[in-house]
């Protein structure tokens, strides 16, 4: 029952607001997710997943909300480095970092993730805009662990590169359809551990190991189909992700293919 009520309510809400809304799907205030565009100078976006502000006309700084709940401070900077007519290009760089220690302080871990993305967008007339680009993410984790039989340190790193292609079609002044596909071009992973084991009372084993999974090419991809409503201040995005879900912000695709909801609500002012 509720599965019917929610879409119906949202549709009514959308239609009601359509009648009076000021269109934000325009050339002054464009969608900034999965495009080369940035917030206008002094423009704010505060939403479910992230908060960002336009520092100057071409620079946007922001942070993702959810990682803060997981005690992971993070920041990203996006620079619209080129704009000429219908073309725009941007680069963005982020940083996530966290450090954990268990209550008994017998193990500790640190994690850092640095995502980078370079995108180019092209406005194909009043309704269509296309975006394509590449992203690369580097992550590293280190940890120490100990229990009665084991004492050691471990480190691991993963990096990946993705290609993306996105399209936005403006249905009306306030709503648009968005399609974004991402293909993981390459993923690399390694882990390394050093430590000391005591498998029995007579034996002490010092170990030094490394695991490498060098190159996985083209094994993962995702497709997001979403509807994006944009009113005076409120923006709503509803959609579905198919294939390997791409974790926003860090651009890391999950191994398992699944259908995931793609939902966002944010205010821009």
């Amino acid at each position: 029952m509720s599965s019917r009520v929610l879409p119906a309510s949202l549709a009514c809400l959308s239609l009601t607001w359509c009648a009076h809304a000021y269109s934000f799907h325009n050339d002054k205030q464009r969608a900034t997710d999965d495009t080369a565009y940035t917030e206008p100078a002094g423009g704010w976006r505060i939403g479910l997943w992230k908060t960002q502000v336009g520092l100057w006309d071409r620079w946007t700084i922001g942070t993702y909300s959810l990682p803060w709940l997981l005690q992971t401070p993070n920041l990203y900077l996006k620079w619209r480095c080129w704009q000429q007519g219908a073309f725009a290009a941007s680069m963005s760089l982020g940083a996530f970092a966290t450090s954990r220690q268990d209550s008994a302080q017998r193990s500790a871990a640190t994690l850092s993730v640095v995502p980078f993305e370079a995108l180019a967008s092209y406005q194909l007339g009043p309704r269509w805009s296309l975006t394509s680009g590449f992203s690369a993410t580097s992550a590293k984790a280190t940890g120490q662990f100990s229990d009665n039989a084991l004492l050691g340190t471990a480190s691991a790193a993963a990096s990946n590169a993705q290609w993306m292609l996105g399209a936005e079609y403006r249905l009306t002044r306030v709503s648009a359809l968005v399609a974004v596909t991402r293909v993981e071009l390459v993923r690399r992973f390694w882990a390394k551990g050093d430590g000391e084991l005591h498998p029995d009372d007579y034996t002490t084993v010092e170990f030094h190991g490394a695991m490498t999974r060098k190159t996985e090419r083209g094994k993962r991809s995702s497709l997001v189909l979403a509807w994006h409503g944009s009113w005076e201040n409120l923006n709503l995005r509803l959609g579905l992700s198919f294939g390997n879900y791409d974790v926003p912000g860090v651009h890391y695709m999950l191994d398992e293919k699944r259908v995931m909801p793609d939902v966002d609500v944010f205010y821009r002012f």
Partner: protein, 267 residues
């Protein structure tokens, strides 16, 4: 031109991140080369004849005596099994430990020797055996190597000390090619010892190689003759087989005869 410089910057950054966090080089120690000794055991080049059989018989007495005197098989098998149990302990602990033991790397196991007095608890005063072995995704590297440090074992009546003080005693083991972790201690182990042994208080130099199968309890020893190297196989220190270039011979002490499908020799 501006566009080009931006593209170059993007490309450089992408390349930078694509190659980011290269795995630190694994400083894996090099194993000693046991191939000449392994070849003697795996491809004996001696021809068994009546005369070479007589030579083997003459050499066998001292060889068996040395094997019985040194009683190394159990000591080595326990150390090798401890290597395997180290892997089991690490993989049961969690993913980070799992990652450390799978892939490529090396282990160095130090095992306190059992002593000769039947103690129920390990005593560092009984010395130790130290073994190093490398591993890859395919399993354990073929060679483990290490040393004995005043390693006491044997019995109260016959106390032994392998690698007494000031006598460097090397132990090299051939575990076999393509050995999986689960097969450690379950496959024949070729043992090469070079050093010294104290037996009942008497210091002796020790240069010995033999192969021991912990499952079948068969001992194999390469014996040099004028015809070349041959391998004698012993069960309960009795000659049961000879492997030579001209075949595998089954021996009967009662009949004083070693025979293959094609040939038969007597002593």
């Amino acid at each position: 031109m501006v566009l080009k410089s931006h593209h170059n910057a993007s490309l450089a950054l992408l390349l930078c991140f694509g190659c980011a966090e290269e795995m630190p080089a694994m400083d894996k120690p090099a194993a000693p080369d046991l191939s000449p000794i392994v070849k003697r055991y795996e491809a004996p080049d001696g021809q068994l004849t009546d005369s070479s059989l007589a030579e083997l018989r003459d050499a066998l007495g001292p060889v068996v005596g040395q094997l019985q005197e040194t009683d190394l098989a159990n000591l080595v098998t326990e150390a090798v099994t401890a290597l395997a149990s180290a892997r089991g302990a690490s993989t049961s602990g969690g993913s980070s430990q799992n990652a450390a033991i799978e892939g490529t790397g090396w282990l160095r196991a130090t095992r306190i020797c059992p002593g000769s007095e039947g103690k129920s608890q390990p005593d560092p005063a009984d010395g130790s055996l130290q073994l190093t072995v490398g591993f890859t995704d395919a399993g354990v590297d073929p060679v483990a190597w290490g040393q004995a440090n005043q390693c006491r074992y044997g019995s109260a009546k016959k106390p032994l000390e392998l690698g007494p003080l000031h006598h460097d005693t090397r132990i090299n083991l051939w575990l076999g090619a393509a050995t999986r972790w689960a097969e450690l201690g379950q496959r024949p182990i070729l043992v090469v010892v070079d050093g010294a042994l104290t037996s009942q208080g008497k210091l002796e130099s020790l240069e010995l190689d033999f192969q021991f199968d912990p499952v079948t309890l068969v001992w194999s020893v390469a014996v040099g003759t004028r015809q070349g190297w041959m391998v004698v196989e012993l069960e309960a220190f009795e000659l049961v087989r000879i492997r030579a270039k001209n075949g595998r011979f089954y021996c009967s002490t009662a009949e004083r005869r070693c025979s293959s499908a094609q040939e038969s020799f007597t002593w």
